[in-house]
Symmetry: C2
Subunit: 340 residues, 2 copies
DNA sequence: CTGTTAGCGCCTTCAG
DNA sequence: CTGAAGGCGCTAACAG
């Protein structure tokens, strides 16, 4: 098994060349004739040669491993999409992902980063499971790093986050296009970028359409179903209730569905709803299906490792970038024209 | 940065001993006096020494890396819990996880396994995202492997899956204890272990309580919300409708909630519901909260890497084990006594 | 265009 | 109880 793997030496012998030639043939380096290069390659193939990355990493200082450190791999259902994007991009670059979870605990984080560094990862994706500001840990000083769903004020680090304001504008544009003018916003209460960005998008969209901002059409609550239900119930009880609701996220939207049901309002005939998250287990399951803005989890995962790879390769356009990703609208059945 | 890391050599010089002594001190091997051992350790600490795992792995043939290959990291929201368990167990063993996703595609799977092997992983967790039979890929022949949420007929491989039948019995026991006698089962249609095991558990629980199995109280459908809703509607339209429903999973249960609502039945006053998955985003969000059986994702993740570590260490009790994990009941508000 | 020759940082017999 | 020396598999000067 392991121990009997054929090495570069055996290939050299079998091909009647030196190990150098084999190394060059396989790695595309050196100045070899295409003939020998091909011959060596096929001999290697025939012998079932596979490189030992520990050895090459030790020698070349490039392990081809990307470290992925995240705060909570598990608590959010989006984590999978992020990881998938990152993993696929890594595979495309002949790299592999080594993951570590910190449970939002500094000691664990440092241990994890340490473990990654001991394994000589080439770089690190420092990820959060929801968009937030972070401070880069000491241990990462000098290590090529890109931030995912997180940002700092340092301009020498690349980072990617969702375009929160754009997401809100897209949601609002959809409602406005359907003819709604009284649109309520069921917002979030936490002091995070999503809270501020989405509210800003809501206001900007109204302003663009010459609709006055009406405080009575905005509530904030925790971003979960039960608080969302309460907030929605309050809003729908108003004399001049909104004809549509834009919700901070799908969980709040689910609360809004429940509130609508309790109030005897049919969706989308009496009330239209749009939200953000496109969390399929909810959005697809709700009756009717919930139109929602998708956060680009997969795409952020891909972008982050592609970016890191480019920076590691020292590519020309490898100057650090801080980008905001667009968030696409996913249509289902929760939006219709305003009633009457 | 990387290149200037202090090595075993510097530590030796600073401590006034040979590299051998340093190596022994740090790894706990050799026959050293406690005095020197401690002294060397503190010198190493003071110099901020960190081992280079590539080098030690190359030499000792133990990389301390566990490969984790799974079919779909992303499509199920449970994946995170599995990974978390695996990652934490690995960290506790001073190991680290290298992950690879196969998208259920053989070519990708082989490439992924290859990449893992090239990095000299010590062993592999071969995971599925839902309980199923698998055939171990050729490439894994001779590589220490444990199966997670998957099984084969090979008795030389350890594996862990949920106890499907036990889960169903637990759910049924809860309903029976509440006094229900007419209990409907909203089953799944796929030919997978969960389908058969849960139905078997349902029947066994009835038999134990001397309740005759009634075919009209069993339906099967795809395990999603809309089909579940349809199945539940049919069942609740029966003349002598059941007073409680046991659902294959939370998504079907959500359909049952919707059907109950459409039928004007209140939960739990008119109808009790229990299901399997304890998928919190749904179970907590439904009104009232859904009592559900949790699948032991985190625990399976932990168990798998602990098992693998034990087998790698050649421990005495390291004979392969195929185990079924118990699934605990999580109480919420969807169960009450039968009406009237 | 190809081969020789040193190590990468660490572990591990084998002597002292 | 401690040290010297060789080599894990590969890469990268540097010669030919």
């Amino acid at each position: 098994m392991m121990s009997k793997r054929v090495g570069i030496r055996e290939v050299a012998a079998a091909a009647g060349v030196s190990v150098t030639t084999v190394s060059h043939s396989l790695s595309g380096g050196g100045q070899l004739s295409d003939a020998t290069r091909e011959r060596v390659k096929s001999v290697a193939e025939g012998l079932n040669y596979t490189p030992n990355r520990l050895a090459s990493g030790l020698r070349s200082k490039r392990s081809q491993i990307i470290g992925f450190v995240s705060d909570e791999i598990s608590t959010t259902p989006y984590a999978g999409r992020v990881l998938l994007g990152a993993q696929e991009a890594a595979a495309a670059n002949d790299q592999v992902l080594m993951i570590v979870n910190t449970n939002s605990n500094d000691r664990l984080e440092n241990r994890g980063i340490d473990a990654l560094l001991q394994h000589s990862v080439d770089g690190i994706i420092y990820a959060r499971m929801y968009h937030q500001a972070v401070q880069l840990p000491e241990a990462l000083a000098g290590v090529p790093t890109v931030l995912l769903d997180a940002y700092t004020d340092r301009l020498d680090l690349s980072s990617v986050v969702p375009d929160e304001e754009g997401a809100a504008r897209t949601a609002m544009a959809h409602l406005l296009a359907a003819g709604h003018r009284r649109i309520g916003y069921l917002g979030n209460i936490d002091d995070i970028p999503a809270t501020h960005g989405r509210l800003a998008g809501y206001r900007a969209a109204l302003a663009e359409h010459g609709i006055a901002f009406d405080e009575s059409l905005v509530t904030v609550s925790e971003s979960m179903t039960a608080p969302g239900r309460a907030a929605a119930s309050r809003m729908l009880a108003q004399p001049d209730r909104p004809t549509a609701l834009f919700c901070f996220n799908d969980r709040i939207a689910m609360g809004a569905y429940q509130a609508a049901q309790l109030a005897g309002l049919a969706i989308p005939n009496d009330l239209s709803i749009v939200s953000i998250d496109n969390f399929e287990v909810l959005a697809d399951a709700l009756l009717p299906g919930l139109t929602s803005i998708a956060l680009p989890h997969y795409e952020m995962g891909r972008w982050a490792v592609e970016r890191l790879a480019a920076e590691l390769a020292g590519e020309a356009d490898a100057a650090p970038q801080q980008i905001q990703m667009p968030c696409p609208l996913v249509l289902r059945q929760s939006v219709g024209p305003p009633p009457h």
